[in-house]
Symmetry: C2
Subunit: 288 residues, 2 copies
Amino acid sequence: MDRIGPTFFEEENRVKNLVVRAISGAVLVALVVLSILLSSCYCFGVLFFAVMMLSLVEFYKMAEKIEGVSVDKWMGLAGGAVLYAAAFFVSFLGKSVTLFSVYALYVSVLMAFELFRGKQSPIQNLSATLLGHLYVSVPFVLFCLVEGATEQSKYLLLAFFVIIWASDTGAYLVGRFFGRHKMFERISPKKTWEGFAGGLIFAMVSGYIFHRLAVVDTLELAFWLALSAGVFVFGVLGDLVESMFKRSVGVKDSGNLIPGHGGFLDRFDSALLAAPVLYLLFSWVVYL
Amino acid sequence: MDRIGPTFFEEENRVKNLVVRAISGAVLVALVVLSILLSSCYCFGVLFFAVMMLSLVEFYKMAEKIEGVSVDKWMGLAGGAVLYAAAFFVSFLGKSVTLFSVYALYVSVLMAFELFRGKQSPIQNLSATLLGHLYVSVPFVLFCLVEGATEQSKYLLLAFFVIIWASDTGAYLVGRFFGRHKMFERISPKKTWEGFAGGLIFAMVSGYIFHRLAVVDTLELAFWLALSAGVFVFGVLGDLVESMFKRSVGVKDSGNLIPGHGGFLDRFDSALLAAPVLYLLFSWVVYL
């Protein structure tokens, strides 16, 4: 078959992919926004728990690609569930924060279980299992703690995700049209410093708008700008870290559960590393 | 040189080793007991911090023996210090428990740093670094939280260590004279079920004595027996887990800083896995 340019079928496929991508992206955004705003046990609690567990599954699949590493996946998922459940009880049901220490007992039990697995590389197996919790589950714990903390704190969590989405879009658009100077070619060849600047501007503008709208009425402009800048920078780092992980084990996407977008980890990578910035700024204002 | 039986020099050496072992063991016990009882920032805080950091160094040295793993040791130690400092501020200076979330930001920063190290196996490097915190630092965080919690809680921490030492001695003596049935030959060839029973009895008797002495006046006999049994069982598992780690990387002792006893990790291995049992039983009584 002679081929001159893309065929009709290829072009049709490209458009179809774009449509699928747009629809599934919009559905995910709508689900996240709705569950944050409804903020009930049955929406937020269940949806964020599901996303956390699916991301954890994806992470463990990546870790298992490392030579000699064998993760006890069910025990690993149980640990993520213990952490998330503690956060849920503390945040929504007002239980004592000492509940988190159940996770410390879980770690002891996990280590004891490894004794009976008789695998070659216990240190690596345990550490990959636990990295999943610190990388994936702890950020969702922090989301849960922010969501349930005060009357208005759910708007802050929503703002956090909007800042990430807006800056992603800004970085993509500016990078696409003005991108010249590569940022971190070894790990993410498409990222440019121009895109970074575009993302930062979109993030700061979002923060400014949230301030003008008085989304959370007690928060000052300085808070919103610090939040936007911090979340943006750690969001970019989160994106790079996930790319580094994927490259090191030789996969392109963390999963294929979101049509056109890859896996959940691919969608939430920025949010994972940025979560502590949100939580610390939030608790600085609320608790200190 | 003809050799018939141990020479005078060998015999002298054996006795000398026993004396060194006894002295350095007694010094360590005395330091731990005194710093728990004095319970000031300058005794407990500094000594337990030092032991935690030295154990962490030993753990990282073990992890580095794994092919392809390269731990960022200074960043790893910084993470242990962040966790311990948070515990210290919460426990002794009454600061908000949200201070622990600084550790979540530390994890994000650690991951970002790994981007710039350009190593082959980022997942393994990060996970070994963080395993050090969950395995070594978190137990010391729990000790610190118990020590500073109430007027009498330091006696509970002291009882915890006495239960471990007493059951160690009981297991050794009974195992040495009556040991027949191997417990876990693959990992620790000298342990026997007879020794296990001896350790359990010594642990329970210690718990009973603490109850009779009314070391903490509000605690009932059931609490003390549950604590003794739980600490003993997780202590044995902790001993086995450390042996598993050492075997998997082919070392005999985790270090050589305590004359005649090996490293700090070798001395505190039981306490590490048993710490959550102490903390959970304690917080059940105090907070719930």
